[in-house]
Symmetry: D3
Subunit: 331 residues, 6 copies
């Protein structure tokens, strides 16, 4: 009766999928959320035969797949492109690197990703969107609200056509709400949905780790967007109880640097209250996978992925189907 526990393969793209299948199976996972990079799921190769082969590989290891994820290409759809994007994009998307062209090719690739999802037999594509206005973050020099509004308009003009295509395909897109994306908390997620006119194909890949350290009510996120929770990441983060040297903006330090306000942590070792998340997911009737995105700069990843799988299984539980007073009253 518990939900399937999958492993998001994005942080393991240095390993061939076959190797990862062996490991994930040994760690106890029920399935994989395939990243569209490395050899895990290659959109440009994903014809029927390719998809069948991937399915077979997974099945051989007793693993299921419920979604694929395109964070890297998705990021390039609405971002202001710079040199960093080259390192995360396939050459055929990067092309000559001209920003407009990169945005356009990334958008096309996301549509193709939806098409290959259909071929693989899954109906959810998770990913990032990028944002044309992330650099306006703090609002100084004084930023007129018109600049913010314009950013959401650009975003919507880029993603509505993609979502129309997804709707035709019967596929949905789950944005992982996250810094550097068009939505990174409840307020900006609401703006994004508004800008998209609540397009039915556009929703969220819920991930509490990016919200908790910001001070965002990540449980309320689920209730607020109850019909838009298309997929769920299980990822933990820790943050400091005491003031530190590198604040929540990160002080231009890397993950794991002593003195940082926050870091990702192996599941159960941070501050995310998963108990409340499971209760909220039960309230809204989410029955999809709980997908572990494992990241902890201070722990061996294999040790971590194994303990995370066990942790997630231990915290999931089914909702009630009985009325207590009714039982009590049966005199």
């Amino acid at each position: 009766m518990r939900r399937p526990v999958t492993l998001f393969t994005g942080q393991w793209a240095d390993l061939p999928l076959e190797t990862l299948c062996e490991k994930a199976s040994a760690f106890g996972y029920d399935g994989l959320e395939l990243a569209c990079w490395g050899d895990h799921f290659e959109v440009d190769k994903a014809d029927e035969a390719y998809c069948k082969e991937k399915r077979a590989l997974l099945e051989k290891h007793g693993l299921k797949v419920f979604s694929i994820s395109s964070h890297l290409v998705g990021q390039a759809v609405s971002d202001r492109i710079d040199e960093r994007h080259k390192s995360i994009l396939p050459d055929y998307v990067w092309g000559d690197g001209d920003p407009k062209g990169v945005n356009q090719r990334a958008a096309e690739e996301i549509i193709k990703t939806g098409e290959s999802a259909v071929r693989l037999g899954v109906s959810v594509v998770n990913g990032f969107t990028g944002s044309p206005i992330w650099h306006l973050l703090y609002g100084f020099p004084p930023t007129p609200s018109s600049m913010i509004d314009e950013g959401y308009r650009i975003f919507a003009s880029q993603w509505k056509p993609i979502m129309d295509a997804y709707q035709d395909l019967g596929v949905r897109f789950g944005l992982e709400v996250h810094p550097t994306e068009i939505a990174f908390d409840i307020a900006s997620a609401r703006k994004a949905l508004d800008a998209m006119d609540n397009h039915p194909a556009f929703g969220f890949n819920y991930d509490p780790s990016h919200l908790g350290y910001q001070g965002v009510d990540y449980v309320s996120f689920i209730d607020t967007f109850r019909d838009r929770i298309f997929h769920v990441h299980m990822k933990d983060a820790g943050w400091s109880d005491v003031p530190v040297e590198a604040g929540v903006f990160g002080g231009h330090t890397e993950f794991g640097t002593p003195g940082r306000y926050w870091d990702f942590r192996s599941l159960g070792r941070g501050k995310i209250q998963f108990e409340e998340i499971i209760r909220a997911l039960n309230r809204i009737g989410y029955r999809g996978p709980l997908s572990v995105e494992w990241e902890d700069s201070g722990m061996d990843r294999e040790h971590g992925a194994k303990e995370a799988c066990a942790f997630v299984k231990s915290i999931d539980f089914p909702p009630s189907e009985i009325d207590f007073d009714a039982a009590f009253e049966d005199k």
Copy 2:
């Protein structure tokens, strides 16, 4: 024995300085920290006569001046220039708006600001620096540390010549550590000092309000950079005890929007622990002004500036000059 309490005029630039002098004097202030915008202190006009006149105006209202502040032009020295800078720069600095040219003219203006400070008779210029790498804030797409390092190198190449000129002038620059600047917490402030090779003219205009909500140890900031606290802003901020809709990154909302994690608050109404700040300032021997930068989107500013002046006077106190046990032992 208490320190002078001044009012930073930046948030009052819609008022002629004379009007503000009347008000500040009535509010109880001992002096003003003149902003280099509005008619408060105009660098391009600041010859000897102008400076003398300003002095006279202040004296007429019983007000002193210890520093001038150039946040707006300073921001343009190292920022990646966009349309927002036009609205905060004098036309002669903005010019044709070409980014390189704007950076350059802003740098020259900051040197002239130092020169006019000398003419006005003050030895501290406060301000912002801008930053070529603020947009890299979260570090995704993956940002190689070389890009961060390069940003600090650019910053140093722009500010070292200015600081050399300041040193010759006998003036010091106090960067207000603040989001969107090259330094916004202890970790990034340390990097900035390193990049500047600890240039003796370069230090900080300490302001706790920008540090507290980030989770930065704003008291430790004072002890850490004890010889670099050139000037002190008194400004308060409040932040939420409970998770909210618009997290610490602001959710692209404006100050004062319900559901924000943090906002500036009139002094004494936020969460900054000024008691500990005064003790730290006493420890390092800071004897300069305590300058109120008043900002609270939910309060009438005149009401606030008055209560803030009284508040700051009430919290300041002189350090001990006696050894208690010694007094005790006098049998």
Copy 3:
């Protein structure tokens, strides 16, 4: 620009109004919220002459009046009447004490109270409503929701005719949300408004002290019912940080008993965060009086009423009428 500070006379009904006027004026109050008991405001005598005389008495002491309050009679409209009501009702309302009759006569008295409010020249009557379902509080033995619904129906059937009369009179009724009333938190206040079909004459006399110790979000109450805040009580309560002997239900102990979880406290000495209340009142545009209901079983009431007046004056402040960035931009 601050709001008038009034003293609710309910806790001083042992004193003749004239005596209280002298004291309140000396304590620094701007006015009184007259209780409809003692000789403070007697509904059965309140003809034009009586009202004129009361007005004159207040004016003589420099005091204003913005509302009258009928907590005791109001309580009897919807309560299940028992021996305790006899001690708080005028004889002509109690009559023979038959519950139905008492409910009916109390309802009529509340209409008369509204009529006399008009004669006195005020447009708000504050008070309690009582509740037919307070005794069902915990829900054991198992209480079907139909019993709760029926209670709200009874309440509405009793109060709608009163509110219709009030609407005709141009008077509004402010229920003080409070244990033993039909509404005692946000959830039950919403049910009460629903039951009343949002009758325009029915709203609230906001009082945070009854909400805070229950764990109710008393600031959110203001935003939630922003057009229903007809009047505001300033009253403080303290509650324990550590577990105690007599919990929040009171353990059948009296106020002030050591070991209680909570007690009323003189203003500023409890845990209510008035800063946030003033900000919320500013947000919704409430401009009426801040009326001190003073109660603290551990303090001399005259000492307390005086300090409370000063406290309330000190915490009130006007909202902003300026846009900060605008001021900042005035280069």
Copy 4:
């Protein structure tokens, strides 16, 4: 060496005892605390043969029994009877529903329950008492202490004869301190004991879940009434860290309604600190069963009852029997 872990059957009365025995045994329980409703333990049928049969049924499933529980009939002994009691009482206790008669018949039934406990071979009957004064909870309209005292006198007059009978039988009654009962926190429990003149047959079925959310020191309860802890329920409750819509009085909402201050939770998922409870039980030398009363409106009860059994086993531990320094000193 750990204590037996039993399951209180009250919340499972919709299932035949045989079915429940199978389940409880599979869940890992050591025994059952039989509810005197459903077919679990029927007082009116409980002759020697019946009791023997029940014993045999339990033994067949490897289950023990240490107590029986009569919450529903107990509630009717001292309560002000209304329509709700009809649904929780056997017809022969309800009779014609006349309150005095119901009280009387309930009292007689509790004595018979004690007699059948003897036949079953257990010496503890747990249950509720009801209360004639629960409706006076908040104390408004002003409630003279004489009314409270009178309530305790009535309670004692109803329960002393029952307790005398129990003493003769060699059976003890454990009141579950709980809202709507004569005792619901430490203060009221003390009053109840006083009213009962510390009758040796009268004590408590300790249950922390009803105390914690009230702010009552549930650990101190154990030390305070150390010789009166006749039986122990393990039940958890969660309550909010942040202010909510429906406060601790419940806002007339049902369990599990979003926005409530508190709810029961599966063991280990709430805020009760069982570590401290086990230490206190060790201090007072309690060696009886730890009986799980499972209730969580958000979880499947079979999932919950199983995890609760494992949880309770994991938290119990035996006290020390050695003096550490002594071991250390053995040079």
Copy 5:
């Protein structure tokens, strides 16, 4: 109606009493608590004339005296004497420094102090007792309870004769519960009273500052020893919310060293909750002086003594003399 606010002169013994009288009067104090060192109150000179002269000096400055304090000599009664005592004792008490002799002479001096208190016209002597067992603090090497018991026996044998003399004189001794004394928290204070067989002349000079940072319930101290609160010190202490370098045992650092867990603080600037102390003092009916013992290694003492006086006046308030419901009921 507020209590007199006095200044304990112990920390000012480097100043002649006349100078201090001028200052204390200017600071706003109502009186002085005279230290028996410096020239403030010299026991060996305190004949009738001396006492009369001191009284006259105080009266000349409008100051009262309610007690004298002998912390330094008192310390030497039960301490294990070492070189440090030489610096705090009059030569005639130190003598040849032989421990037994010092203890004996100190005891005699304390009796003489009581006699001179009578001559001065006060009935309370405050002070320390020292302790023969402070060095056994942590209990390692393993310390048999017999060694602790023996310490209390020694203490009692030294102080009972003194207290008998006090009782004859009509004077009482208030031990300031404090580290290095026989009593330093509630548990050890209880042991001390037990050892003294609750001698009626032996009680406490209550001072919360020495208790708070230890984690001792300083409010409960007042209720626990309600008939033994002979005198009250107002002194504040701050302690850290976050872990530090030098823990509560002090790390052999001096007051004011950065990184210490705790330090004394000017009144109102530490963590002592004086609100609760005043309420407790009201509960037990203490009507004596509130005596400021001012100590803060980070603040100028004259600034501090002045603000402390105003602070203490502001927090004191008289208890209630009315029953609220009674006032409410006056229909």
Copy 6:
């Protein structure tokens, strides 16, 4: 890949080593940290044959040994000797009990302990040092810093020769920082290292339980003395969230007395955050054993030692050996 988990035998010296080996092996331990008392490791008998035999005994039970511990004799090296030391020292060290002689013989015994460590094949001796200045703890009567300095000088004069001998032997000494020792927090540990001129053979047996309740930053301890963490004890302690009767100084009460501020607790049942400790140990590259020092006055020690072993295994984890972004970038 996890660290070995050993059991410190000091608290089990009432059992013959052979018995303890059986138990420890059954509890799941990987090895023992042998105490130099009881028959566990007798320095005076520890010739080659003895050591070989001990090794064989351990190996027979599948147990390793990484260190031996000499807390009791070590304590006597720098302590002010009194009757308590007699009970913890071998007769040949105590001798005639003359303090100087005891100190001297204890020092010699510690050197012999190092020599026998070599024979046993381990390179770490853990232990206490005692302290000549622990009795000066609070600093009253006023304690000149010269007395503290002198204490550290004495300590160093006693321990430097021992450490020189250790260095020659290739053995290191790990002081367990602990009340009553020369070092009991970070500040005093730094002083001890300074006094020892950072002798390379002198470092620490890290044990968080003695630091946490003092308010000492026990995680920072590891980073601060990163090259001096020679050995690690796993021991937990609990302390109170609410004020109590016997404060942190212990009130001369024994462990486990109700009302104490703190007590040792079985691992995982106190407040030490082992997660952060493991991360810090990973940061500094500590690869030695995690040695359980089990102590909990409220729990059966065999139950506890078993659960502690499982707990420590569950919390240990290996550090990361991969760069996440690198994995992510593998497009």
